[in-house]
Every structure is written in C-alpha cells, then in structure tokens.
C-alpha cells in the first residue's frame, strides 16, 4: 500500500533527528573597513579589548547551552572582521573555554580567518599551537593595483610571505580570491588563480566581486568588467582549478580531494550552528521547531548587553512556509546537490512539499538526478549558473 503524506501543520510537524551542530564565532573589528565588505566589521579605533571580548564570548556561549544541551560541536569557525587581530594567547584561552563548556568532536575542524599582513603572519605558529587547525587567508588578489583598488591594507609581497608562513604551520589552509575586480582583465584574473594554485592551498574560494548594498562600492560603483567578461573569468577559473586537481563542490568553493570546508559544508547541508560574538547569526533545531538568533551588531553594544547577561537581539522561529526555500538556498549551492532524505531530515517536512517544483525544474533542465545515485538531486550546470532563477521557484508565493 502506498503511504500518504499527511498535510503538515505546525502542530503535527516534527523533526526526526537533530542535525550536526557547528559553532561560529564572530570577531567584529578590522584595521580598516574594505569598500566591498558587507560583513559586520568595524574599524578599530583603539586597541582590541581582547580579554573583555573573549570573556563575553564565553559567557555568550553559556547562554546557548540550554538550547543545545548534550549536543556535540563538530566544527568551529572564527570569522570576522579580522580574527587575526587577536593574539594567539587569546585564542588559546577561548578554545580552552569552549572545550570546558561544550563537547567538541575530537578531530573537530577549527578554522580561523586571517589577514595576510606581516603583523598577523607572525602569530600563525601560535594559532596552530592554540589548537586552530585550519587557516583561511583573505588574499583576494596578488596584483598590487587590484589590492589597492579593493582597499586592502596588505600588498602582494606580504601575501606571498603570509602564505609561506601559513604553510609551515598548517597542512590545511584556504585562500580567498576575488575576480571581476575593477579594471581587471581575464588574463589578470587567471594569473591570480594560477598564483594561488601554485601556493599549494588545500582549499580555494573564488568569489565574483559583488556590489552589496550598504557598502562604499555600492554607493560609488567602480568600473567593473562587463557581465560577459566576468562569466568568461568564472569559466576559465573553473577550468584552471579543475586541471590543477581541485574539485568544484560549491558555487564559489574548490578543494583538494577530501578537503572540503567542513564547517561551511554544514551550512550548505542545512545543519545547525550556534553563532556567538557581535552580530553573529545562529540556527538551532529542536524536535518541534527551528529558530534563528541574532546578536547585537555594534561591538560596544554587544559587550554592554553581554555584561547585562544576554546579547541575543532577535530570536525567531523559521516558519514552515520558509523552510523549503531556506533549505534549497543552501543545499542547491552544492555541486553534488543533496540526498532527498536530507530534505526531510533537516526541515521535518515531507518531500511532497517540494517534489512538484523539483520535477518542474528538472523538466526545465535546471535540476537533475545523479545518475549514480538516483536518490540524489543536483543542479545541472545551467542550474548552477542560474541558481537564482532556480531558487525563486522555491519561494513561497
């Protein structure tokens, strides 16, 4: 007999198993705010209030414990801002504090974002010793002119030196590269990628520079390569990375076999994450609901709220109507797509909620079944290129 899915309402909705849990820690300060950056970062005026902030982060984590009781943390990501403005000692203290409060998976991936300046590179050895086992270096470009146009405070020389030092201490590190930069040619974009490949990272993120709202670039747009040139760049970059042995596994992410960014993979598989620190976002599932949290964004306010006991500014349940879109927004970024069961596991919704749209998108050549695993749905190459068009179909009307 065929099983019939009951219509899901909030009263009958239930998660069968909780997803893996990751921990994101935000460091909101930068020496200088970059004109393209729309992350929660603030120009540092005085020194970093290191001890105070670490203390706040740990107490912030404590406020989350009742929400994730007993769950193991699988990965940690320290992002920013510029986490590498903090000393290795501070990081050590932070990680020790985390270990004392939550159950951390023994071989957990612990990533830290670092700026490729000399000031930071000198601390790489210390970070490794503190327990950080993966570094993500914001190179962006090796071209001195482009670095300047992007408002970066490091130069190409420092970039090379930072990578040298990183390699000495980390066997797992990522380089961030951006393309379609102001005035950039195809040859220049490829030269950046080739240089990055030659530096020997295990992971490479190649981002199309986007003019995000609320950035200086959005208000005063620089002259960017046209859409066709940018698309040429993307295709050529993908080819260079493929021939260098990198797997393309997410829209902008490439890795050596087995070296996916586990922490990010958890986002894309619609896993859970605690977000602590100024402006950090978290997503936590329960047997009967999924919530999103956001901390106060301004560092000063975050510290003040934390001192008063709790820095959560908003906490909202994700409605059932939004879940399919939110899941797809993440999962369809993965080149390999997702196992159909994952949708049910992570959203608590029956597949009938999306099967019609999946079939329609398949008919339209945006999605396909993995021929080796028919239970797997993935975007076609066209689906990857026109992911927004594909995602729109999952938006509630």
């Amino acid at each position: 007999m065929q099983s019939i899915s009951m219509p899901v309402s909030s009263s009958t909705w239930q998660m069968t198993a909780l997803p893996p849990l990751a921990l994101y820690i935000h460091f909101p300060w930068c020496v200088k705010k970059c004109p393209y950056c729309d992350f929660n970062s603030h120009t540092l005026r005085e020194g970093v209030p290191e001890a105070q902030y670490i203390d706040a982060l740990l107490r912030d984590l404590e406020t989350c414990l009742p929400l994730t009781w007993g769950r193991q943390v699988s990965t940690i990501f320290m992002g920013g801002g510029t986490p590498s403005l903090f000393s290795a000692e501070a990081m050590e203290q932070l990680l020790a504090g985390i270990r004392a409060r939550v159950r951390l998976q023994p071989d957990a991936e612990i990533t830290m974002e670092a700026n490729p300046g000399t000031f930071e590179a000198d601390k790489f050895a210390g970070y490794r010793a503190a327990g950080i086992n993966r570094l993500s270096i914001g190179i962006q470009s090796f071209n001195a002119g482009h670095l300047q146009a992007l408002g970066r405070i490091h130069n190409d020389d420092e970039a090379h030196k930072a990578i040298e030092i990183a390699k000495r201490h980390f066997d797992n590190f990522n380089l961030d590269i951006m393309y379609a930069l102001p005035q950039q040619t195809l040859a220049q974009a490829l030269s950046d990628i080739d240089t990055a490949i030659a530096a020997g990272p295990t992971h490479l993120s190649a981002y199309h520079l986007t003019l995000e709202p609320n950035t200086l670039f959005h208000r005063y747009p620089p002259a960017l390569p046209d859409d066709d040139t940018a698309a040429d760049m993307q295709e050529a970059i993908e080819q260079h990375l493929a021939s260098a042995g990198f797997e393309h596994y997410e829209t902008s992410a490439f890795c050596r076999p087995g070296r996916q960014a586990k922490h990010n993979l958890n986002y894309w598989k619609f896993g859970d994450y605690i977000g602590i620190g100024a402006g950090a976002h978290g997503k936590i599932s329960f047997h009967d609901r999924i919530i999103r949290q956001m901390r106060y964004k301004q560092p000063g306010e975050y510290l003040a709220q934390m001192a008063a006991g709790n820095a959560v500014q908003t906490e909202e349940p994700v409605t059932l109507e939004q879940l399919p879109f939110e899941f797809m927004l993440n999962a369809l970024r993965l080149v390999d797509g997702f196992d159909l069961d994952l949708f049910t596991q992570r959203t608590g919704l029956p597949l009938t909620r999306v099967i019609h749209e999946i079939e329609r998108a398949t008919a339209d050549g945006l999605l396909e079944r993995d021929p080796n695993d028919l239970h797997r749905i993935r975007p076609t190459l066209r689906g990857q290129r026109f992911l927004n068009t594909l995602l729109e179909r999952f938006l509630p009307d």
Partner: protein
C-alpha cells in the same frame, strides 16, 4: 426668468477654476464650511490630483446683488482639457455667459483661446477675470493686453481676483449679474431641455444635468429623447446647490437635474434634447453629435486569469464614462484583452490610471493608435483601429489617416523649436499669427503623430509654455506601411505600427534599439527585428545572460538574500511572457520613447 444667470468658467488647467467655483459656493452660502472639502466641484480623486474636472457639475447659487435683488446664479462647470471639447461646447450651449479666468502671471493658453472662440461663436457673453492677482509674479497689464490681442475681447475692466485669498469674489458675481444676459426662451412652449452632462448613480441610475430652454419639466412627465426616440418617465427633478435639492418643476432658463429610471448612460447622450411625449418639440436643439473615439489602445491583463476582472472593471468605468468604448480582442502575443477607444490621450491615461489604482489591475497597454480608413481593391471602405489588423498590402488600394488641425499658442522665443517639431511630425503649416509676445501657429498634423508623444515633446521644446488645441479635419491618403516587430522570429502583433514610409526605416531601427534596452537579458539570446512585410529592416540582439547566482552564502543573515530573490521574482511576474521571452510592460510602449531625427 430675468433673475436667472447661467454661466460657466473657461480656464486653463491650474488657472484656478475649481478654487474660484468653491469661493462662489462659499460666498453664496451653498455649503457649510465643514462641508467644503477642498474643491467641491471636482469630485473624483484623480481629478483632484491632476487638477482637472472631467465631468461637468453644477451649482445653483442664490445671490443678493448690490442692487438689492436676489438672483439665481447657475454655475455650470466645464472640463478643461483638449480631449473634452465637445463636452465644453455643450456646457457653453447651456449658458448665456462665461467667465474667462486667466492666471495673471501665466497669461492666455491655447486651450482657453479655443474654448473662448467656441463661446463667442455660440453667442455667449465672455467676461474676463484675472486670477492669482496677489502672486508676486502677477503682470495684470501684460495679461490684459494678451487677452485683447489673442482672444479679441475687451479686458481693460477685467476683475482682478484671487480665488485662493478670496479677493474680488463679489466683484465677479456683480459682473455676472450685470453683463451676462438673462436667459431667453418660451416658458409656455413645448419642452426643450439640453442634456449638458449625464452620469451614473448607484441608487437612482442615470442622472442628467439639463438646461431647460423652452417649456417646463416636472416629475411624472413622460419624456422623449429626440436623438434616440427613447421614452422614459421623469421621476425626479431638482438642482444642485451643490447638494442635490428636489424641486417640483424645472422651468425655462433653469439648470438642474433629471432622474428618469434610466439604467444605461448611453441612453442619455450629452447634447441630446429632451422633450415631452405629450407635446413634443418640432425640432431638437442644435449641436448634438455622437462622440467618436479618437485614440485606441489595447489593454491586456498581465496575468491572463485577470481577464474577467478587467472586463468587470471596464464595465464599471463605462457606467460613468459614456465616451469609453471597449471590445474584446485577442492578441497572439498578449492573449485575451480589450481594444479600447478614448476621446484622447488624457482620457486614455485617466482610464488606465483608474484601472490600476481603483481596480488594482496589472495592465499591459499597447501604444496608442488612431483609426485608419482603408480603401480596398474592390472599392470598399473599411476602418481599422488596430494596426495588426491591416490586411495584406496587395488587397489595399489606399490607406487614409486622420488629419487634425491644431492650434498652438507659444511665446515667440520658442516658435522655431515648435515649428521644427511640427515638421518632424509631418505637419503642414496653415497659419502663423503674431499676437503681442505670443504666436498662434496653425498646423495640419497627422493625428497618429500627435497621439504618440507630441504633447510631451511640445512641452519640452517650449519649456512648458506652448499650449495646444486640435480638431479633426479629414482622412487623407498617405503612403503608409505596417511596421512589424519580431521577437525571436515571432511576430508580436501587439507591437505592430502603421507608419509613414518615409519614416519607417528610421523608426524601425530606433524601435528595436530601444526595445533592446528595455528587455532584460535572459537565459538565451533574444533577436528583436523590425520588418515591413517580409523585409527585415533592423535587428538587435539582447545577449543571453551567462549567470545569475549569489557569490556567497554562509550562515549569516539570509533575509536580505531572500528579499533580493523575492524582488527578482516579483519583477518577472510583472512581465508578459511572449513565446519563451519575458517582456516588461514598458517595452510595449517603447515606440513612445523613440526620438525623431
């Protein structure tokens, strides 16, 4: 009868007609202050916003003059735009006098001149009033000179007033009493009442505003409409003060309303004569004509399932707008919709706006067009209102387009620019007259050129100073061809145009290039071609978009990403899918953005 004065106000838009009417009502105590919502006579919202009166309304005022006598002043409001010249002429026909209200800083405008001429032709006494006299920019002497030069009436004694500040209101009313003749007519003759306006009321049906010329009209009279021969029983008569007040009788010389249980506005045509069945008048009052649509456009719902509600909305609008015509039309590209006929461009805009605003319709409007007369090979003459319906050229002997005579009043400084514009639009100059600092140009222009963008162009080349009036002149044979637009090799009927052969190549090229800008890049190349018959005269390509994907998505704030995609999705919804191409609304009107050589 000798204490009755029937008058209307002739004024250009914004010269303060409605405000002045309100002042009269206030001065004569027609409404309590609390009842005076701003500009009482303009009842529709859109009219308030645009500052124009579409439906003529009226107010019967009781005024105690300085001579101690009590007068019954009937103010008949008139529309103030070129599209409504017939309505204006009927309003004027109901009056013995007209106030020519001129903005003391702006001076005379073509529309005012045209309406004044109509008034003078009909033997209406014109009394000049200078409004906005208290503005710092007011130049009464110059404007008086202008009135005398251009309109040709004496204006030296013109009342200086400010409707806004209430200056000179009594002086104007005194002038009305003194200068406007009392109505003449035979109170004992057979009934002759002129329908000045008619509109639909949800409770009582059609309400007619009439001027009784001869005889008298009371409830229970059986009335006859002389143009349609329809008979109805008069149920109610009365006057507007401007509140409606029932009366037992309307007598010769009076202006008031008649309700006769009529359900369709088309039965009570403006300009028709009402008489009684018992003792009918021998002949109708002069000047009646059937109003014909001048401008046509296709209106289509963006979402095809909104067709029914578009029809309902048009039906509702039609209840109160006898000059709106529509009939179902099927376009291969746009699906089911309506071909609508309008009095003019402004009328089109008003209808479109009301459909969108009051009825919440999402519409695709095709470029406005005119009626063409075709002489077929067999000698048969047919009219077409939609360029895509033009038969194969081999079957057509001759295409005739409507020509209008337009009168343009423009300050000397801009004459050159206006003449250049008229020449670009295939105009032929008929007259040019210097009147003080203004020049009165008369041009014969193809109406098809005027309905496109002539008003806007005229305003822009004259910095807003030129004003225009026009009248249909004739149908004239010209070398006209049909210009088709093909999107990915499919002819889009809704984009077809009839153009003069001499302009066809240029227009075709400009049109496809404009469309290339307006159609967003999609997942494939889109070819846009212009063709005359099977001959392609221009081609542009909207290159395929190569990617549309967010570069970054991590655990952070997803609401903005969601909003971005929602916006993108909503934008696509407002586009019309033609074949597999999504075409935005504005691309269907791309021709209006094509500039001339």
């Amino acid at each position: 009868m000798k204490h009755i004065r029937n008058f209307s106000i002739i004024a250009h838009i914004d010269h303060g007609k409605s405000t002045l009417a309100d002042r009269f009502i206030q001065f004569c105590g027609g409404l309590e202050l609390r009842e005076m919502s701003e500009q009482v006579l303009d009842s529709m919202d859109i009219e308030k916003e645009r500052g124009i009166t579409i439906k003529a309304q009226t107010a019967a005022l009781t005024y105690k003059a300085l001579d101690g006598q009590i007068y019954n002043l009937n103010l008949i409001d008139t529309p103030g735009h070129v599209d409504f010249s017939y309505e204006v002429s009927r309003s004027l026909a109901a009056c013995e006098g007209a106030l020519l209200v001129v903005d003391a800083s702006q001076g005379v405008e073509a529309q005012t001149v045209a309406n004044c001429y109509t008034a003078i032709e009909q033997g209406v006494e014109v009394v000049a009033v200078l409004n906005k006299i208290d503005l710092p920019a007011a130049e009464p002497e110059r404007v008086i000179q202008e009135i005398e030069d251009i309109v040709g009436i004496e204006a030296i004694d013109a009342v200086r007033a400010s409707a806004k500040s209430g200056i000179g209101i009594q002086d104007i009313l005194e002038e009305v009493v003194r200068k406007v003749p009392a109505p003449r007519g035979n109170p004992d003759g057979p009934l002759k009442a002129l329908i000045v306006d008619s509109w639909f009321d949800n409770y009582v049906g059609v309400v007619m505003l009439v001027r009784v010329v001869d005889g008298q009209l009371s409830p229970k009279d059986k009335i006859l409409f002389m143009s349609t021969k329809a008979q109805h029983l008069c149920e109610q008569v009365g006057v507007f003060t401007p509140k409606s007040v029932q009366r037992d009788v309307l007598r010769a010389g009076e202006v008031g309303f008649v309700i006769a249980g009529i359900k369709e506005l088309a039965s009570a045509k403006v300009g028709d004569t009402i008489t009684t069945v018992k003792s009918p008048a021998v002949e109708a009052l002069p000047g009646f004509k059937e109003v014909k649509s001048q401008v046509f456009a296709g209106l289509y719902p963006v979402e095809s399932h909104d067709y029914e509600s578009l029809r309902d909305s048009l039906e509702k609008l039609k209840l109160n707008d006898a000059s709106l015509h529509y009939e179902p039309e099927v376009s291969q590209a746009l699906g089911f919709g309506f071909r609508c006929g309008f009095l003019g461009l402004l009328h089109l805009e008003i209808v479109q706006e009301r459909l969108e605003r009051e009825f919440d319709m999402d519409l695709i409007t095709t470029a406005p067009t005119v009626v063409y007369q075709l002489v077929l090979k067999g000698g048969e003459v047919v009219e077409i209102e939609n360029p895509s319906r033009l038969p194969d050229p081999s079957k057509v002997e001759e295409i005739r387009e409507p020509i209008i005579t337009s009168t343009i009043l423009v300050p000397q400084d801009y004459v050159g620019a206006v003449m250049t514009l008229c020449n670009q639009k295939r105009g032929a100059q008929r007259n040019m007259q210097y009147m003080g600092r203004q020049v009165l140009l008369t041009y014969d222009l193809p109406m098809a050129e005027v309905v496109m963008d002539f008003f806007d162009k005229l305003k822009s080349v004259s910095r807003g100073y030129a004003s225009l009036d026009y009248d249909f002149k004739e149908f004239r044979a010209e070398d006209l061809v049909k210009l088709d637009v093909l999107v990915n090799s499919e002819r889009v009927d809704a984009l077809s145009l009839i153009v003069h052969r001499s302009m066809s190549v240029y227009r075709g090229r400009e049109l496809v290039s404009k469309m290339r800008e307006l159609i967003p890049r999609q997942q494939f190349d889109i070819a846009i071609q212009a063709a005359i018959g099977s001959h392609i005269i221009a081609r542009e390509t909207v290159k395929a978009m190569r990617k549309d994907v967010l570069a970054k998505c991590y655990g952070g704030d997803i609401t903005r990403k969601k909003k971005l995609l929602e916006k993108q999705k909503a934008g696509k919804k407002r586009m019309k899918q033609v074949g597999n191409v999504e075409i935005p609304q504005e691309a269907f009107l791309a021709i209006l953005q094509v500039s001339d050589k």
